[in-house]
């Protein structure tokens, strides 16, 4: 049984809207036939099918917006007898409104924060399986920060379209998480000097990365503003005693995962360095434990040396905040009326306005900056 999935029709396309089916169940199709018409932000495109056979079952209805990669129909390939269905055991009818999903897919959706309402099931009877959730998550993950491109409306110029797209993204987030963003440029001269001197006296294997200083500082800053270190459980926000930082790790083949470093506030820089290295290698080897994915109480993301100067990150549900760290750059810095060249990192806090507000978030960033001036105390 082959699948016809929502094709990728444009470099930055993440989802498409089915306008109409050109084939019905039972129709025979040969490779290259037009099977459907799909609307993307660029245009309405006639979509061809790549397998010859008979349309077995349509899974999406016209008007539905579906992420790229989601199965839209089953095609029974030529020459393949229908899969020998076992004696059709009478399956008790499902009560209406009940979501048909495999237990493992439900667990995964919770871990990756995927909104099941959007996911289309590829299993029997439309049951949602892991791959459906993974496809939906991947579609979301591919654009870490820039909001989805706007849906084109006739007669509008490009700039207005962009603004409308960001508004659409924000509206969607507000419906789920009313983000607000605060940024702070942090003077890193003390920290970089301390680190250079520290690494000079350390054997190579024990060298520290700037990242661990940032992680420890974020963890300690959370002691000042604990409401940011919390997770949603159903309708309630539960503040966490422990500070488990989700560390965003970019996978070389694309995609992102943010497993937890546990109890960062209690760890020494050496312990943190060891934990960080272990987490990165296991993330890239694909051998993370599912608990590591669901443990973080707040996430820290950094695009590293070649990333952007500042990052507007999206909060990972069920957390309530995320810290985005920009690239370390040399900047003119005024200190006591003097202008100096100074290494600077822009830290951005994105937080859930249902849980806290700008005033408290601001306190977090100033504390973070202050802590980084005394690297010895980290």
């Amino acid at each position: 049984m082959a699948e016809f999935v929502m094709p990728m029709l444009g470099a930055d396309m993440s989802a498409g809207t089915l306008i109409a089916w050109r084939k019905q169940p039972g129709d025979t199709v040969t490779r290259g036939d037009i099977i459907a018409e799909v609307h993307t932000d660029k245009a309405d495109i006639e979509v061809e099918v790549f397998t010859s056979g008979i349309v077995e079952k349509l899974l999406a209805e016209p008007g539905q917006q579906v992420p790229v990669g989601t199965p839209l129909a089953f095609i029974r390939e030529d020459g393949k007898a229908p899969v020998a269905a076992a004696a059709p055991e009478r399956v008790p009818p499902l009560e209406p409104g009940r979501l048909l999903i495999s237990p493992s897919a439900k667990t995964l959706a919770a871990e990756l924060g995927v909104d099941l309402a959007v996911v289309r099931g590829s299993g029997p009877g439309g049951r949602i399986q892991r791959r459906d959730v993974e496809a939906a998550a991947a579609a979301v993950a591919e654009r870490p920060s820039p909001p989805a491109p706007p849906v084109a409306v006739e007669g509008e110029d490009r700039q207005a379209g962009m603004r409308r797209a960001i508004a659409a993204a924000m509206a969607r987030s507000k419906r789920e998480i009313p983000h607000f963003y605060l940024s702070e440029a942090i003077d890193m001269s003390a920290a970089t000097r301390w680190l250079a001197d520290e690494n000079l006296h350390r054997p190579v294997q024990e060298r520290l990365l700037p990242g661990v200083l940032m992680l420890k500082a974020v963890a300690l800053a959370l002691h000042e503003v604990p409401e940011l270190n919390a997770v949603w459980q159903g309708e309630r926000v539960v503040q966490s005693e422990a500070v488990h930082l989700g560390v965003a790790i970019f996978l070389r083949g694309g995609g992102l995962v943010a497993p937890a470093l546990h109890d960062v506030d209690g760890q020494s820089l050496d312990e943190l360095m060891h934990g960080f290295r272990d987490l990165v290698s296991r993330a890239r080897a694909g051998s993370l434990r599912s608990s590591e994915l669901s443990d973080p109480t707040i996430t820290v993301t950094s695009l590293g040396e070649r990333g952007a100067e500042s990052v507007l990150p999206i909060v990972f549900p069920p957390q309530v905040a995320i810290v985005g760290l920009g690239r370390l750059v040399e900047r003119p810095w005024v200190s006591e009326g003097q202008v100096l060249a100074c290494p600077v990192v822009t830290a951005t806090l994105a937080a859930d306005h249902r849980v806290t507000d700008g005033h408290r978030a601001g306190a977090f960033l100033t504390t973070l900056a202050r802590l980084l001036q005394e690297p010895d105390d980290l």
Binding site: N199, V204, Q205, R207, L209, P210, R252, V280, E305
Partner: protein
């Protein structure tokens, strides 16, 4: 150790750090960190590997010299011959 031997050793170590990278197609005169999408963690692991296998401790101040492959091989052979001389 000839430059050629240094180069193959370096390429092997880079392969261990970025297993899915396409080492064959690496251009020797362009910054290899860029080509292999190596972040600070990868770089640190690489520097540690160099220290363990070749006994060359690269101070952070020399990191800028880890540009292209050729530049890095030249830097290494210079360091190796220097340490060989004072042995």
């Amino acid at each position: 150790m000839t430059d050629e031997e240094i180069k193959t050793t370096v390429l092997r170590m880079l392969g261990e750090i970025a297993p899915e990278a396409d080492l064959a197609g690496i251009k020797p005169d362009v910054d290899f960190r860029e080509q292999l999408d190596l972040d600070s963690m990868d770089l640190l692991n690489f520097v540690i590997a160099v220290d363990q296998e070749l006994g060359v401790d690269i101070p952070e101040s020399d990191y800028p010299r880890l540009g292209s492959l050729d530049a890095f091989v030249a830097y290494l052979s210079e360091r190796l011959s220097a340490s060989a001389a004072d042995r």
